[in-house]
């Protein structure tokens, strides 16, 4: 354990020393992965489906605020969907505009969830996002998680039904196509169940990790994961959404492991050294529980100078 803590301190020191390079590099990688995933899934516009353009834009994103990556990704999605069909592009644009206008002006920091959640969905570990948001954020982040889920299912729906939507144009015209896209999104039961499950996970994890019980973060993660599985399975039973149980459990276990790593970096305390203090002032009695953080002093390197006089 002490070697792990020492490694954490070393990582922290490394980050604080080279933050000026690491942060842009992280943004660059995030932008590159996001744009490549978008191109890989719905790369209908040939001009944007070009690695050089993606690299240039990712490089640009590395020097701009994090929210710019979200804006660029939203722009990419709209442009690709517009190429697939005008109506798909309009619907995607309307959804993104509503998200940005109504919610993200209140909490611009949460926009990154909209980017991370579809990426995690593609990697089959979407459950890590609601657990992490519950651990690090507030219950208001439920809206961000919901928006991220809507974006993923929108992309997924259009990717799967692209050929049907194109065929509709010739027969029934633009209005039918428009209606088909909106119906497909609004009547997506799997999306609805996922949003409910993720919202339940965020709120449960948040409420439990705020309690003063020992190992609150670990209990919160476990309860959140179990609750997520239960809600998704109940939804599957009720609406027959064809959720793969094996994949769900494997994804949840991997998500729990990632959340555990997050806990190691953000909330590493030693419950064995918990102290209970009681005191009073003129107005209140205080019952305080103080849990010390786990930390180790980094071993200092000693340089021994051996000089010899010849």
């Amino acid at each position: 354990m002490s070697s792990l803590l020492e490694m954490r301190e070393r990582l922290r020191n490394f980050y604080s020393k080279y933050e000026i390079y690491i942060t842009p590099l992280f943004k660059f990688v995030l932008a590159l992965v996001s744009l490549m995933c978008i191109n890989g899934n719905i790369g209908y516009m040939d001009r944007l489906n070009n690695i050089i353009i993606v690299l240039v834009i990712a490089l640009m994103c590395s020097f701009l605020p994090m929210n710019f990556i979200v804006l660029v990704s939203a722009g990419f999605v709209c442009a690709h969907l517009y190429t697939a069909s005008l109506e798909c592009g309009v619907v995607a644009l309307a959804i993104f505009l509503l998200m940005f206008i109504l919610y993200f002006r209140f909490s611009p920091k949460d926009t990154v969830v909209v980017l991370l959640l579809p990426l995690c969905f593609i990697m089959k570990i979407p459950y890590v996002v609601p657990i992490a948001v519950g651990l690090m954020g507030t219950p208001a982040s439920v809206v961000s998680v919901g928006c991220g889920t809507v974006v993923y299912y929108l992309i997924q729906y259009i990717k799967v039904n692209a050929s049907t939507i194109s065929a509709l144009e010739a027969d029934d015209g633009a209005v039918a196509k428009f209606r088909y896209v909106i119906d497909g999104i609004l009547n997506n039961k799997e999306m609805l169940i996922t949003i409910i499950a993720f919202a339940a996970v965020v709120i449960a994890v948040y409420l439990i990790r705020r309690t003063s019980v020992d190992h609150a973060w670990t209990i919160a993660m476990a309860v959140g994961a179990v609750l997520g599985v239960v809600v998704l399975l109940i939804g599957d039973l009720a609406y027959d959404t064809h959720i793969s149980i094996g994949l769900l459990i494997v994804g949840m276990v991997i998500s729990l492991l990632i959340a555990k790593v997050l806990q190691f970096f953000c909330f590493n305390v030693d419950y064995s050294r918990t102290e209970y203090v009681q005191f009073e002032d003129d107005e209140y009695y205080y019952y305080v529980k103080a849990v010390p953080k786990n930390s180790v002093a980094q071993a200092k390197k000693k340089v021994k100078k051996i000089t010899s006089v010849l």
């Binding site: 309009v90 309307a94 509503l98 109504l102 209140f106 428009f178 209606r179 909106i182």
Partner: protein
Amino acid sequence: MLSQERVQLMTKMAAYEENEGRKYMSIGNYFRSDYIGLQTIKSIICATIAYAILFAMYICYDFEVFMQDIYKMDLLAFGKNVILYYFIFTLIYAVISYIVHSYRYFMAKKSLKRYYHHLKQLNAMYDLENRK
């Protein structure tokens, strides 16, 4: 002369000014009513745009039915409904905005109070040193 305590306090204050302080100071420059009023007006504008998008989507979704019925329907009643829903939508959004920004203003003032307390402490330290 360099004082370790003073340098610590100044470092803490500089870090605050660089990070959360910047956001809170811009809020703290306003009177409460001005800040909340301005933000609520912005929210009303945003709600109007959002409602226009939703309405346009609704019309596009039901475009054929809408065009068929346009001569049969009571346009005045339809207009009244549209305006009524607009007011309800905007009112709900404005109330949420009011609550969020009132809380933000409260937090900003609380945080700035601590910052001004540190400023006073720093001033007192300088005074003490000058007297010596």
